[in-house]
């Protein structure tokens, strides 16, 4: 990177917001996918959307690669720095510009944290539905870039389903504004296309989100089972009943062990799997569904059923669930998280095969998954200090992803391709389809300066380093979906 090309960028910000010293850059070398590390040449910290636009335009003029970064919680390496490029850190663009309780929308800057939107909406009886496990720290800008999910996707969809309008600067420097305050639209769905672009199109500057009325009543049940199959059968019975629960989650024995150790969650003794079901809605409707659910669960022969008796108990159930993955860090020095999706009816088969494949690889694997939508999160435990262990773990992860594709599912439900799964894109798409995706990328970014090295398989191999807990994860601040 010739220094003179960076000068123009450096001149846009005061020195304290243009970081170039190694000790300043170190914090930006990695994200939630700690297996990868790369040092950017500089980190820019804009404080206004105008500054972001100027930075992107300067990158475009100089042909310098950039990656936008929020809290750096991507589990697919989405915010891994670009070789020879700059990181544009958006944390200071953290204002909720508008919260309109009548129209039920929030207009936010990209650095606003997901749960802050929910907190701001709560006094008005409203809710921002997408709830990734990192919600207490991940930003809306990152959620938009990766179309983040959460535990309530079957009923409420992903981030894209809640983005009504966007103002963005594209990699070409063009500023665009799509959609708006209305829940309806005419013409092509640009917001839908932009959401999930993995940072390859540009940077969202202002996002209009829809808010939903907060359900009057929740009914959250935790049921413990002797076998994983029994829990899976219970899910099938609930789905077949015609109910539409807000969430259906399963944790296996190893995940339960981890959660117990980390957040002192207590689970029924002797259970190999736990199912969490959440109903929500007006109290009359929850009461009716609750009777049906109780009957279905009773017939599924759980060891024990524990309905949450109040809001506190509900939160405790969710805390155990949402901390499960980071909790696994206590069982193993290193681990890899996967995010494949299989058709729901093949969940049992998929889990059995994961057990077999783990055994063959000589590795332990914990499972936490969104059973309602077939989104698996196998967690492969290994010790990076042992020679070849990381490679064995990655090989196992690859076999699991290919199995998901073979079963008619997907290599990613909510974490995105990023840098982690880019070599698996050809397993999901044919060459001419990948060409189409590349043509679309080129329409937004002909110079390939916006987050290059992500999504598409390519020669540029980022350096693998020691995987492990994200520093914030180790501190118990964030957790993984």
């Amino acid at each position: 990177m010739p220094k003179d090309r960076l000068h123009e960028l450096a001149a846009l910000l005061p020195p304290e917001r243009w970081l170039t010293r190694p000790e300043q850059l170190a914090a930006y070398e990695s994200d939630g996918l700690t297996a990868y590390r790369k040092r950017p040449v500089a980190v820019a910290i804009p404080e206004s959307t105008d500054e972001v636009v100027e930075l992107v335009r300067a990158c475009h003029r100089a042909g310098i690669g950039f990656v936008a970064r929020g809290s750096g919680t991507s589990l697919s390496g989405g915010s891994l720095p670009v070789e020879g490029g700059v990181v544009i850190a958006l944390n200071r663009l953290n204002r909720i510009l508008k919260l309109d309780p009548v129209q039920r929308i929030a207009v936010v800057e990209p650095g606003v944290v997901n749960s802050q939107v929910t907190q701001a909406a709560a006094p008005h009886g409203l809710l921002y539905a997408p709830d990734p496990s990192s919600q207490s720290i991940c930003t809306i800008g990152g959620n938009v870039a990766f179309n983040s999910g959460g535990a309530h996707c079957l009923k409420y969809g992903m981030t894209a389903n809640h983005v009504l309008g966007l103002r963005a600067v594209l990699a070409t420097g063009e500023c665009v504004s799509w959609g708006g305050r209305s829940r309806e639209s005419v013409g092509p769905d640009w917001c839908g296309l932009f959401t999930g672009n993995e940072g390859l199109f540009g940077i969202a500057l202002e996002i209009t989100l829809q808010l939903l009325p907060k359900p009057e009543r929740y009914h959250t049940v935790l049921a413990g089972y002797r076998t994983l199959d029994q829990a899976g059968d219970a899910v099938a019975a609930i789905v077949a009943s015609g109910m539409l629960p807000g969430a259906l989650e399963i944790m296996d024995a190893l995940a339960l062990q981890a959660a117990s150790a980390a957040v002192h969650a207590e689970y029924p003794p002797g259970c190999e799997a736990v199912l969490i079901v959440e109903l929500e809605g007006p109290r009359e409707s929850v009461e009716c569904d609750r009777l049906r659910l109780d009957a279905i669960l009773a017939a599924s022969q759980p060891i024990e059923m524990r309905p949450a008796r109040d809001a506190e108990e509900r939160l405790a159930i969710w805390k155990g669930r949402k901390s499960a993955f980071s909790a696994v860090g206590r069982l193993s020095p290193d681990f890899l998280v996967q995010d494949g999706v299989v058709p729901r009816r093949r969940l049992g088969e998929a889990l059995r095969r994961i057990v077999e494949m783990s055994r063959e690889a000589g590795l332990r694997c914990a499972n936490v998954f969104h059973a309602g939508d077939g989104n698996l999160h196998p967690l492969i435990l290994f010790d990076g200090r042992q020679p070849g262990a990381l490679e064995r773990a990655e090989a196992l992860a690859g076999r699991i992803l290919r199995m998901c594709v073979e079963m008619g599912g997907s290599i990613t439900g909510e974490h995105g391709i990023g840098v982690e799964k880019r070599d698996f894109l050809p397993d999901m798409f044919r060459p001419e389809e990948i060409d189409c995706l590349k043509r679309i990328r080129s329409a937004f970014d002909p110079l390939e300066i916006a987050n290059p090295g992500k999504m598409f398989p390519g020669p540029e191999a980022p350096a693998l380093s020691r995987p492990g807990l994200h520093p914030l994860e180790a501190a118990g601040v964030i957790s993984r979906e």
């Binding site: 009548v102 829940r183 639209s185 769905d189 959401t195 009359e284 729901r344 939508d373 391709i417 679309i440």
Partner: protein
């Protein structure tokens, strides 16, 4: 416009041939929204491209060919206790799955869980160069690749010929109740809608009938839960519960736009409830224009019966900064100033290679 007979391919290979056989083509379905495809191009009809590809009720997904009538889809889903919650319109008139996506049209049920964009999961389409491409997925959750399926929603057939679509479906609620509330004009109606939207009742649909004095509200859920909710709402506002036959006739009238001028212009105008009173004043001054407010005040459908009223309507929309899309009738496709970005032409080139499909403004 579409002077020659439409090509009617029966297989995906024949669609590829059809796309390559003319310099400019436009896909058409059942032509329930004929203005969208009234352009100078060879029409490619999907009417022989019908049928189910996959339907696995336990997965909450189905895949069908683009020309499959919505009516047939609704019937088959209903047999298994499922539905598309966004009430795709014009199903009795023969609207197709592909046409519904390309037009980006959702019905009253879009209020609760979102519209066609929120339920589409995957597309298979033929692009301008005759390539058959599959994007999105067949499972309810998928984040691989750019979300092309959503980008086809509202694409007006300008990005390619849709041949196959995958959708998410929901279980059909056990029971529904339709409440008919009396309101005093558009401003009052928006007040009621606002209060209803943040309350605990979670209505599935809220539509203001063209008369401007009747608000239709649909509650859905377990049978035992609906009466108390309906009673509570009726204590708050004057109105009545409609008997099921009456209710379904009214919903069908809305879905089929029977209230609109049969040969007039029909516009879809996205907006927010706060703009409805001002738009109502425009309508009043324009003469022969009828208006129906849907999706809890997030969309206005406007039907103009004469050229003079159309002219007044167009200038009124401009003044309010609103943009309408003409679904039926004569005149421009876009009413008002559609925002155009530089990236649009680049994108179009990426998909509709060689200008094979008309421009969005054509």
């Amino acid at each position: 416009m579409n002077a020659t007979a439409a090509f009617c391919p029966a297989t995906v290979d024949e669609v590829v041939e059809a796309v390559r056989a003319a310099p400019r083509v436009i896909p058409i379905g059942a032509r329930t929204k004929p203005r969208l495809s009234a352009v100078d191009a060879q029409a490619i009809s999907t009417r022989r491209l019908t049928g189910w590809v996959e339907y696995e009720p336990s997965e909450y997904t189905f895949t069908a060919l683009a020309g499959t009538p919505i009516r047939e889809i609704r019937e088959v889903l209903a047999e298994r206790g499922q539905h598309l919650p966004f009430d795709p319109p014009w199903s009795e008139s023969g609207a197709t799955l592909g046409g519904t996506v390309a037009a980006g049209c959702s019905g009253p049920g879009r209020f609760r869980f979102g519209g066609v964009r929120d339920f589409i999961l995957g597309v298979r389409f033929v692009d301008g160069a005759g390539r058959v491409l599959r994007m999105g997925g067949k499972v309810v959750k998928n984040a691989a690749g750019f979300d092309l399926p959503k980008f086809f929603v509202g694409s007006l057939g300008r990005w390619g010929v849709l041949v196959e679509l995958t959708f998410k479906v929901f279980p059909r609620p056990d029971a529904t109740r339709t409440l008919d509330l009396g309101v005093e004009g558009f401003a009052d109606a928006m007040q009621v809608l606002g209060e209803m939207s943040v309350n605990r009742w979670e209505p599935q649909a809220m539509e203001l009938l063209p008369c401007g004095h009747r608000l239709l509200l649909r509650l859905a859920g377990p049978e035992g839960s609906l009466q108390p909710l309906a009673d509570e709402i009726l204590r708050r506002w004057p109105g009545q519960i409609l008997d099921p036959q009456q209710a379904s006739a009214l919903w069908s009238d809305l879905a089929e736009f029977r209230w609109a001028h049969p040969d007039g212009v029909l516009l879809k105008v996205p907006l927010t409830p706060d703009l409805v009173p001002a738009l109502a004043r425009v309508i009043e001054g324009a003469g022969d224009v009828r208006m129906q407010i849907g999706a809890g005040g997030n969309v206005a459908y406007l039907s103009s019966g004469s050229d003079t009223s159309s002219a007044a309507l167009l200038s009124g929309l401009r003044e309010l900064g609103l943009v309408g899309l003409a679904l039926r009738g004569q005149g421009p496709l876009w009413w008002g100033d559609r925002p155009v970005t530089g990236v649009e032409s680049a994108l179009r080139q990426a998909l509709a290679a060689d200008d094979r499909f008309p421009e969005l403004d054509a």
